[in-house]
């Protein structure tokens, strides 16, 4: 890893950044993000923000059951999607579904999952914000905090044994809260012991619902935990998409070339509520939120692009309008599609329906219908 450029000298707390406060990139860092990639990152981040805002609105209107947004944390999933290779596998947590959008998963299918109806490839089995898709190697996740991290390590161990070309790697994501779970520590340990080609990325967004990170761990940073597991730990400014992209590209290259795992702590902030079920006013101050609003990852990238003559108000407005129009038209198309069939409830429990499920399916189909919600 050559991500040695740091804003602080204490190696335990140093935070890798590329974008400076004035929006220009630190000239001392070879961040490796081309203008084309930077523009793509900007488009993806803007679209993701528009999508999250729209879905939260629909949830308030009762048209969507639940929603977990990534607002303020767009840089990590988008930079991840841009830095990963096609063959790599993704094990997301709540804030990283959108990695798959960057890797070519259709927005229509992604939105379809939110409605859990005929447009949902996952057949209405999970609440919104649980997208997954085999075509882009993004594995199905549960909202249980932690289990996906050792699973990512295991997939990476298998990849190492398979030695396919081009080389594959796995990434596993988690929040700061998840680092308290035994699964996190098992994953870190296995990754280190087996030198798995995996990158474990923790989005430290400062909160686990109402619990601040300081009450989650007594470690000085989260990245420092990597040391105990015998792997490099990198602390990166998670609201600086150039920095995240640089750190991830290096970590992915290291894993891909047999150099073993890396642990990345991306320091960021959850700008909105935990999910639509949460009211953050009960536990955190407006001033804290306002301070982080000034570090917004999209604003920062925009300043960078403006400074390079790649973005202006007119282009930005059009980009935003186009993204919103696309989202709205997809919603219009998929929202009213039919619910999954009754019979589909019994599919996929086992590869084939055993007798009890055949009986239950017949009873449900011939019985009375439930009242609507």
């Amino acid at each position: 890893m050559d991500t040695a450029v740091v804003s602080e000298t204490d190696p335990d707390v140093m935070l890798f950044r590329v974008l400076r406060d004035d929006g220009t990139a630190d000239p001392g860092v070879d961040h490796g993000m081309t203008d084309a990639v930077a523009l793509r990152a900007y488009f993806e981040m803007r679209r993701l923000r528009a999508l999250d805002a729209r879905m939260i609105l629909l949830q308030r209107q009762g048209r969507v059951g639940f929603y977990g947004a990534a607002t303020g944390q767009e840089a990590v999933p988008i930079a991840s999607g841009l830095a990963l290779a096609k063959q790599d596998w993704v094990f997301p947590a709540l804030r990283e579904q959108s990695v798959m959008l960057v890797r070519g998963y259709p927005l229509r299918d992604y939105i379809g999952q939110v409605f859990g109806n005929a447009a949902d490839n996952l057949k209405g089995r999970q609440p919104p914000s649980h997208q997954a898709g085999k075509a882009v190697h993004q594995v199905s996740w549960s909202p249980v905090i932690g289990p996906q991290i050792p699973q990512a390590v295991g997939a990476a161990m298998a990849m190492r044994m398979a030695k396919r070309r081009p080389h594959e790697i796995a990434v596993g994501y988690c929040g700061d809260g998840a680092t308290s779970q035994p699964d996190f520590h098992a994953a870190m340990n296995f990754a280190g012991v087996f030198k798995a080609p995996v990158v474990i990325i923790c989005q430290n967004n400062h909160w686990s619902i109402s619990v601040p990170t300081a009450k989650q761990t007594a470690s000085r940073t989260i990245a420092i935990k990597a040391r105990a597991y015998g792997m490099p730990g990198v602390r990166v400014d998670g609201n600086d998409v150039l920095a995240v992209y640089k750190v991830l590209r290096d970590a992915f290259a290291c894993a891909r070339s047999g150099g073993g795992p890396t642990f990345v702590e991306a320091v960021t902030y959850r700008m909105g509520a935990h999910t639509t079920s949460d009211d953050p006013k009960l536990y955190r101050s407006d001033s804290e939120v306002e301070a982080w609003a000034k570090k917004d990852p999209i604003d920062r990238l925009r300043r960078y692009l403006e400074a390079r003559g790649l973005m202006d108000d007119a282009r930005d407005t059009k980009l935003e309008a186009d993204a919103s129009a696309e989202i709205v038209s997809i919603i219009r198309e998929v929202e009213e599609l039919a619910a999954p069939s009754l019979a589909s409830m019994f599919d996929d429990v086992y590869a084939e329906l055993p007798w009890n499920l055949r009986e239950q399916k017949a009873a449900l189909e011939s019985g009375p219908r439930a009242p609507k919600h």
Binding site: G124, S142, V144, Q181, P182, S210, Y283, A339, S344, M345
Partner: protein
């Protein structure tokens, strides 16, 4: 007597017991400042401070493991597991440790804690915010399992659970957390563990239910009555040790039984209840006991109302049993 919902009644019970018994404390994820994601512990942090209302790191195994340690030392922890669906990371601590501590130490050590956790579906939560895992814990020797259906019982049963010498899993039916309202006495009272309640007397069919499904059983009973079938609806309240006398007494009267629960049918608590009824009241049965339960699938999201054993599915079972 003030009217309360379930959330208020449970909160009142916790506050009451914490004022009375300095050994009692609350711990869990988000239980402090915000008072829990369902606000059940609201205001306790302000009154009792951070040593007795502990916001823990995000680790259910850590919560239950440390609660056991505190209990061994003499405290009475009442940990909250945010959703019963998230109890599995603590399964080892509960099943291998909590349940067996007294037995394996020859009675020298007892670890007395009350684990509170919301259960059940009907809130558009999907599989991981809807499960009803009671059978797993009933199956584990050494644990008591409670599930109130209304505010009065919730307070009285929680106080009884905290004072009981055994570990208790206290499952709270989240679908009726705010919908179930009723008068709740101020101050001290308990509802004895192990006692069912006859919520609606009747002579034709016994319907056994608990938690949120009690209301569905009552709704089905109303409909059945219009067709001349009088249900006796039993609210188990304590699932284990179950009130076998109340069940047998009712079955002797009706000879017909329908058991209702949200959890999947296979190896659900209904299986045990039907087996017990066969063992203890076979000669009084006029019809085979019937289970109306969740299907043997994970809890679905879009189809959750079709999955749940609501009144529309209980009624035909009641009528079939009555006409058998």
């Amino acid at each position: 007597m003030p009217e309360m919902n379930m959330v208020g009644a449970i909160n009142d019970a916790l506050r009451h017991e914490m004022r009375k018994d300095p050994r009692v404390l609350v711990m869990g994820e988000d239980v402090g400042k915000v008072g829990g994601v369902f606000r059940v512990t609201q205001g306790l942090f302000e009154e009792f401070g951070e040593d007795r209302v502990i916001d823990t790191p995000l680790s259910e195994g850590g919560i239950i493991g440390t609660a056991i340690g505190m209990a061994l030392y003499g405290l009475v922890p009442v940990p909250e597991i945010q959703f019963a669906d998230f109890i599995y990371p603590a399964f080892d601590q509960i099943v291998s440790e909590l349940a067996k501590m007294r037995y394996r130490s020859g009675g020298e050590y007892a670890s007395k804690i009350v684990i509170r956790s919301p259960v059940g579906g009907g809130i558009r939560g999907g599989h991981y915010h809807s499960q009803s895992p009671e059978a797993l814990f009933i199956h584990t020797a050494g644990l008591k399992v409670v599930c109130p259906s209304n505010p009065y019982d919730a307070k009285g049963l929680l106080l009884a659970s905290i004072r009981d010498p055994d570990p208790v899993l206290f499952f709270e039916p989240k679908r009726v957390y705010r919908a179930a309202k009723g008068d709740v006495p101020e101050g001290d009272y308990t509802v004895e563990l192990g006692k069912a309640a006859v919520t609606r007397p009747g002579k034709h069919v016994t319907v056994i239910a608990w938690g949120a499904m009690l209301y569905e059983a009552l709704a089905a009973a109303d409909e059945a009555a219009k067709q001349g079938v009088e249900c006796e609806v039993l609210d188990l309240r304590t699932l284990w040790p179950v009130d076998i006398d109340a069940i047998v007494a009712s079955v002797k009267k009706t000879g017909r039984v329908v058991v209702v629960h949200e959890a999947p049918k296979t190896c659900g608590f209904g299986a045990e209840l039907v087996a017990l009824i066969n063992e203890k009241a076979f000669v009084h049965l006029e019809a085979p006991p019937i289970r109306v339960a969740g299907f043997d699938t994970p809890f679905p999201y879009s189809l959750e109302m079709e999955y749940l054993p609501l009144a529309h599915r209980i009624l035909p079972a009641v009528l079939d049993t009555a006409r058998f």
